[in-house]
Structure formats: structure tokens, C-alpha cells
């Protein structure tokens, strides 16, 4: 039964090393400065500064230097197997080249040499608090980390978003390691670092390191239910059919209401000439990434999710 499954204790291998990656998008600044601060701490206190081995990475240094999301192409779409194995030429996009470097450093993706955990740091202009983004709903390690963060962090809502990709299709940085997740904190404008947002992200990274240390030391982490949001689909802005420019903005009643309930008849958009566009679908869903700046060019005004309860078993480190 599900109950028995939840009460069963699963033994999993220790996590030998984790990577903290910032600046995968060069203008999402909390991660850039978390990595900068961690490197400063390591320089000051030596390798023993954290209880477990941590590799810190500035994923996209050129984009960070220019404070842009990317130079040639979105780096967080460059980690599919095809892109990672494509031949590099002089005309290859910078990010493709760099993705292959990172795969050599933190991977190889899919191999036993890959680093145990990647924690990829991101910001969003959406009011998403702390959102932990997983590519799979069946990795107990990352789900346990999520559960731990939800218990320990109380200043902001902590939510779990599952994208549920088939492993072979995953294209983001955190798919390189054995376990991976994205730490997304908002709202913060791109190109800006807010102290309150930085503090939340730093705390989440410190707690992740803390969990791994406790896990590796033999702590039993109890199973239970984890409430998650599963991505269903994306919704674009109303656009002019010829020019493709936006004809409406997110409605004031939807703006900043990430993860609230969206019901049929609720307003979605307010056009620049004053008309309201409503949500006409039957299914009540949860909107998120509402008005994310980087998604205008991807044709996304917001995305919709269904709430999904996942049951996870108790876990404990496997002793050799």
C-alpha cells in the first residue's frame, strides 16, 4: 500500500560532492553574488569551510560580465544530449561551447563520473517566492531536500514545481548531475540584486549543504507527502497579428498572484486600450511565472500547473 511504501526506509548512496552554479543567466544576480561570496569564504577559510565538498561555478561568465541573460543563445537550453555532443566550430554559439565545458567539469551527463548534485541559482521578475524546480517527480533525494527547505524556511513561501521531462529530453544545467534542481527566487528585476532576495537564496543553499551533510552522516529523513505543482501548459500574451507586439499586459488582478487559483471567468489580461480578457477554460489551475521578463521572447505570459501530492519514502545513507 501507499502507506507501507511511505513507511519503508530506502537506503541511498552518499552524495560525495555538490556544485553550486550561479550566473547561468548573466543578469540574474543573486546567484552571481552567492557564488562570489562562497568563493570569498573558501579563500578566507580554506576547503573545510563547508561540511561537504562543494564546487562553485560561474556558469556563464561572459553574460555575467555584460549583465545579459545570454550572449548568443540561452545557456539553460544547451544541455540536451544532442547539443552536448554536437561538434564545436568557429561559428558555434558561445553558450554551446561553454555548456560542453561545464559538462566536462560537472558531468559527463549520464555517466557515473557526474557530480552528485547541481544546485542552479536563478531569479525571476515573477512573485514566486522560493520555488524549487525539479525535472523529475521520482528523485527522492531532491524531493527530500525540498521537504527540508519547506520545513526550515518560513520567511517566504517555498513551493515545489515539477516539470516532469523524460530524462532523455532534459536540456537544463541541472540535468548534467546525478541529482539536480533549480533554486528560483523572485520577485527581483533582472540586473538588480536585492538584499532580501540574496539572503533567501543564500539560506536555501546553506540548508541544502546542511541536508546533504546530515544525510551523509546517517540521519534518517522521515517520509511523507510533498505538495508539488506540475506544469501543464503555457499561455502567451494577446499579440498584434502582423507585428507580433503585445496588445495587453497581465491584468492587475493576476499580477503577482503566482500559485493562486485561476478559475473560469477570472481576468487574465488588460489591453492597452482598456479591454479585459478572461480565463475561459473549465479546469481550475495555478498560474506561475506571471510576467517573467525573459519569457516575452519565448511567447509566455504565464504558465499553468496542477497541484499534485507526491509520497516519498524515508531515506537513509547506504553504508559501504
Amino acid at each position: 500500500t501507499i502507506r507501507e511504501k511511505a513507511m519503508a526506509l530506502l537506503f541511498l548512496p552518499a552524495l560525495a560532492r555538490m556544485a553550486v552554479c550561479g550566473g547561468t543567466h548573466g543578469n540574474e544576480l543573486s546567484g552571481v553574488y552567492v557564488v562570489q561570496e562562497m568563493e570569498r569564504q573558501r579563500k578566507e577559510k580554506g576547503e573545510g569551510v563547508w561540511p561537504i565538498p562543494v564546487t562553485t561555478v560561474l556558469s556563464n561568465p561572459r553574460a555575467v560580465k555584460e549583465c545579459r541573460r545570454y550572449i548568443d543563445t540561452d545557456m539553460n537550453r544547451c544541455f540536451s544530449r544532442d547539443t552536448l555532443s554536437s561538434p564545436i566550430t568557429d561559428s558555434s554559439p558561445y553558450e554551446v561551447r561553454r555548456a560542453q565545458e561545464l559538462n566536462n567539469l560537472l558531468g559527463l551527463k549520464g555517466s557515473t563520473d557526474a557530480i552528485d548534485l547541481i544546485c542552479d541559482l536563478h531569479n525571476t521578475t515573477s512573485n514566486m517566492g522560493l520555488t524549487l524546480i525539479l525535472c523529475t517527480s521520482s528523485d527522492w533525494v531532491t524531493l527530500h531536500i525540498c521537504k527540508y527547505l519547506q520545513t526550515k524556511i518560513t520567511k517566504v513561501p517555498v513551493r515545489v514545481l515539477v516539470l516532469d521531462f523524460p530524462i532523455s529530453d532534459a536540456y537544463s544545467l541541472e540535468s548534467v548531475s546525478k541529482h539536480g534542481f533549480t533554486l528560483e527566487v523572485g520577485p527581483q528585476p533582472h540586473g538588480v540584486v536585492r538584499a532580501d532576495i540574496y539572503i533567501i537564496m543564500k539560506e536555501a543553499v546553506d540548508l541544502t549543504i546542511d541536508w546533504i551533510h546530515k544525510f551523509n552522516s546517517g540521519t534518517v529523513f522521515e517520509g511523507g507527502d510533498v505538495e508539488t505543482y506540475m506544469l501543464i501548459k503555457s499561455v502567451d500574451y494577446p499579440r498584434d497579428p502582423e507585428t507580433r507586439t503585445l496588445t495587453a499586459a497581465i491584468h492587475p488582478q493576476l499580477q503577482d498572484k503566482d500559485f493562486c487559483l485561476l478559475k473560469r471567468g477570472d481576468p487574465l489580461f488588460l489591453s492597452f486600450s482598456g479591454e479585459t480578457v478572461n480565463y475561459e477554460e473549465e479546469e481550475t489551475l495555478h498560474p506561475f511565472f506571471i510576467n517573467e521578463a525573459a519569457y516575452y521572447e519565448k511567447g509566455i505570459a504565464f504558465q499553468l500547473a496542477k497541484k499534485m501530492m507526491l509520497t516519498i519514502p524515508a531515506v537513509r545513507v547506504q553504508k559501504d
Binding site: 553574488y33 552567492v34 562570489q36 561570496e37 570569498r40 569564504q41 549583465c67 521578475t125 520577485p187 527581483q188 528585476p189 533582472h190 540586473g191 538588480v192 540584486v193 536585492r194 538584499a195 532580501d196 540574496y198 539572503i199 507586439t245 503585445l246 499586459a249 497581465i250 491584468h251 492587475p252 499580477q255 488588460l270 492597452f272 486600450s273 510576467n291 521578463a293 525573459a294 516575452y296 521572447e297
Partner: protein
């Protein structure tokens, strides 16, 4: 009760310019200009309004600027410098705009130039100008401040003054006989928020209403306006070698634009957790706190002195 100052008579305002997209990623102005251009005048308006997309290339790419900040290209020196095909795009464009809306300082210049901007700082609505005795600008400010029962009612309206002589005045609004930047925040760059768009639309409408009333001979009573005059800028603490910032605006100061900052008040919180305090001797009013575009200009916040300025009643000279 104050003694009524001598009434100021001014010629009516026959030509007004509304400019948006001077920074291509400050989107409320971009969409407002697009909306205004869609509803072109039918020739019956009492005042001629020219609506301009200032930096079309930057708007297309959704960046602040392509080669150099357009809103620093309107000094006399830059406007009269020789240009060639290899000159920066924005320099060529500033001279085009000067020919269209100016020339700056001449009798042909538009009577009023309103330049639309957004900021990531929590400034509310600011009219930013180079004069603290331009009665037109001050009366428009007073008119915007007086509106009630409107969508704008919750947006504070303030008058900000940069004490720079006209020759050195570097921004687009200095091209008109009268002019100001209408700056509204907070809004992330590359994002359009519906309430910010509405506030800007209403601000422009109220400005146009004032101009029409003025032109038809309405007497506007004198009164008082609080003027914030810029005193100095404060940069982020930076690493002496690499020049990267080592602290963020302190949570106690973040979002507190126009709240008095006293000597000893927290200003920055370093990424390693130390508080840095305001060391000035004079209590001043901070604004443009944590504006994303100012990191590269070495500005974390600006500081202003506030004083009450008495303004005379004004009425246009009716030319018969």
C-alpha cells in the same frame, strides 16, 4: 493665507512632444507611444502633439541602448559634434531628434517635451527637470498631485530637480522650451506592469488636460510644491582590484525612496553580512535606490535636499 504673487503670463503652448522608448527596455512608455500612434489625431485637438519612439533600434532589441545611452546625448557639445556612419547610433539619433523637436535653445523647439521612463526603484511618479522655477512644469506637477478618485490616486507624485545649466543638460527633455522626464517605478526593465502603464497613461492625460485648460485661458492659482534637488550620488562598496560590488542596498533602505536618510542609518548590507552606514553629516532624501541601469554608472542611490517652492498663479496670454 499667503500673499498672491504677481501673476505670470505665458504664451499658450502650441506644440507638445510625448516621447517613449528613449531607453528601449523601459516598456510603459514604449507601449504608451505605440497606443498613441495607433490612435492618430484627427486634427481637432486644441494642441498639436507629436508622439515619438525615441530609440527604435533599442526598442526592437528590448535593451536600454544599442551603443551608448541616448539620454546622455543631448548636451550642446554632443548635439553639435560632427557625425559620420561610424558614429554611435544613439549620437546620430539624438541629432535627428534635436532637428525634429528642437533645435534645443531655439524658438522652433517644441513648447513642452514629456519623456517617458521607468525605473526599478520605488519612486512612484516623478517629474524630473533641470529647473526649480519653471512655472509650467511646477504647475503641471501640482495638477497631477491634486487628482483624486482616479487610478493614479495611490501613486505619489514628486518634483525632482537636477541643478545643471542648459548647455550641460544631457537628457532629451532639455530639447523642449519646457520639459521633464516622467519617471514611474517600480517596474523591472523589459516588463510592462498594467498599473504602471495606467498610471503613466493617466499622468500624460492629466498633463494634456492642464495644457488645454491653460491654452483656453484658465487661471491656475499659485501655491506650494515640494522640490527635491539632487545633491550627490553614492556608489556601491566595491572590491578595490576587481571593482565588483561587495554589498547590496540594505533591506532598511531598499524601496524607501524619498524617506529621509539620517547620518548613521543603514545603507548597505555586504554579501558577508556586515552593515555599512550613511556617513554623511546632513540628513537627505534618497531616490533612485537600486536602479538596475545605474550599476554601470557607479550609482547605488542619489541624495536630494527638499524645500518648498512657492509658485505664482499663471494664465496664458490670449493672443487675439
Amino acid at each position: 493665507m499667503f500673499v498672491e504673487k504677481k501673476r505670470q503670463k505665458k504664451k499658450e503652448m502650441s506644440r507638445v512632444a510625448v516621447c517613449g522608448g528613449t531607453h528601449g527596455n523601459e516598456l510603459a512608455g514604449v507601449y504608451l507611444v505605440r497606443e498613441r500612434l495607433k490612435r492618430r489625431a484627427d486634427g481637432t485637438e486644441p494642441v498639436s502633439v507629436v508622439t515619438v519612439m525615441s530609440n527604435p533600434r533599442a526598442v526592437q532589441l528590448c535593451v536600454r541602448y544599442v551603443e551608448t545611452d541616448l539620454n546622455r546625448c543631448f548636451t550642446r557639445a554632443t548635439l553639435s559634434a560632427p557625425v559620420s556612419e561610424t558614429s554611435p547610433y544613439e549620437m546620430i539619433r539624438s541629432q535627428e531628434l534635436n532637428a525634429l523637436l528642437g533645435p534645443k535653445g531655439s524658438a522652433q523647439a517644441v513648447d513642452l517635451l514629456c519623456d517617458l521612463h521607468n525605473t526599478t526603484a520605488n519612486t512612484g511618479l516623478c517629474l524630473i527637470t533641470y529647473s526649480d522655477c519653471d512655472w509650467i512644469c511646477l504647475h503641471i506637477c501640482k495638477h497631477l498631485q491634486a487628482r483624486t478618485n482616479t487610478k493614479m490616486a495611490s501613486t505619489p507624485v514628486r518634483y525632482v530637480h537636477f541643478d545643471i545649466p542648459l548647455n550641460e543638460a544631457y537628457s532629451l527633455d532639455s530639447v523642449g522650451k519646457h520639459g521633464f522626464a516622467m519617471e514611474i517605478g517600480p517596474q523591472p526593465h523589459s516588463v510592462v506592469r498594467s498599473v504602471i502603464f495606467s498610471a503613466m497613461q493617466e499622468g500624460v492625460q492629466l498633463m494634456m488636460d492642464w495644457i488645454c485648460q491653460f491654452n483656453s485661458g484658465t487661471l491656475f492659482e499659485g501655491g506650494w510644491v515640494d522640490v527635491y534637488t539632487m545633491v550627490k550620488n553614492i556608489d556601491y562598496p566595491r572590491d578595490s582590484e576587481t571593482h565588483v560590488i561587495t554589498a547590496a542596498v540594505h533591506p532598511n533602505l531598499q524601496d524607501r525612496d524619498f524617506c529621509l536618510l539620517h547620518p548613521g542609518d543603514p545603507m548597505f548590507l555586504s554579501f558577508s553580512g556586515e552593515t555599512l552606514r550613511y556617513k554623511g553629516k546632513e540628513a537627505l532624501y534618497p531616490f533612485f535606490i537600486n536602479e538596475g541601469a545605474y550599476y554601470e554608472k557607479g550609482i547605488a542611490l542619489s541624495l536630494a535636499r527638499k524645500r518648498r517652492v512657492e509658485i505664482p498663479s499663471v494664465r496664458s496670454e490670449t493672443l487675439r
